[in-house]
Symmetry: C2
Subunit: 95 residues, 2 copies
């Protein structure tokens, strides 16, 4: 059976384990991969989530497929824009 | 002239622009690449540094070559260990 393949989880300010549980659930429900998307200070949380899934909960089952960084302009009050860094980490089930 | 190729900058709690200046200086002094290493909360600062160098100060000159994440055990008082996430971003001068 081929799995579904487009699970995305947005990382914010909730406790790390909430996101870990979400990723593990997605991968156990048939998704082949799961992409964590984060901005600004949440980027380090995204790395924590990826590492906890990869090294603890799904050790030898999941690997990091791809990591990308970028920038995004956010509109602020007063018409100004602020640039924030972004990161996407894609975790994939090993065959 | 072939450049030197093993510049490493450790990202900590200083202002982002300190690290940006360090990276730009290294790359302008003959290094072909520069690796940013960060742990824990500093990981998002490392992404900020990489993005500011790549998109603002050395646009069209520097690209992201490699991004790696990992975990490290830190010894704490009382003999316990704490696991922190790590990240390495390698910036490279485009030919």
């Amino acid at each position: 059976m081929s799995g579904r393949d487009d699970s995305v989880i947005y990382i914010g300010r909730k406790p790390v384990m909430n996101y870990v549980l979400a990723v593990v659930t997605q991968l156990n429900q048939g998704y082949d991969n799961c992409t964590l998307k984060a901005r600004g200070r949440s980027i380090s949380t995204a790395v924590d989530v990826a590492e906890i899934v990869r090294c603890r909960f799904m050790k030898d089952i999941v690997d990091v497929e791809k990591i990308e960084i970028g920038s995004e302009d956010l509109a602020e009050e007063g018409g100004r824009t602020r640039t924030v860094s972004t990161m996407e980490i894609t975790l994939i089930k090993m065959k």
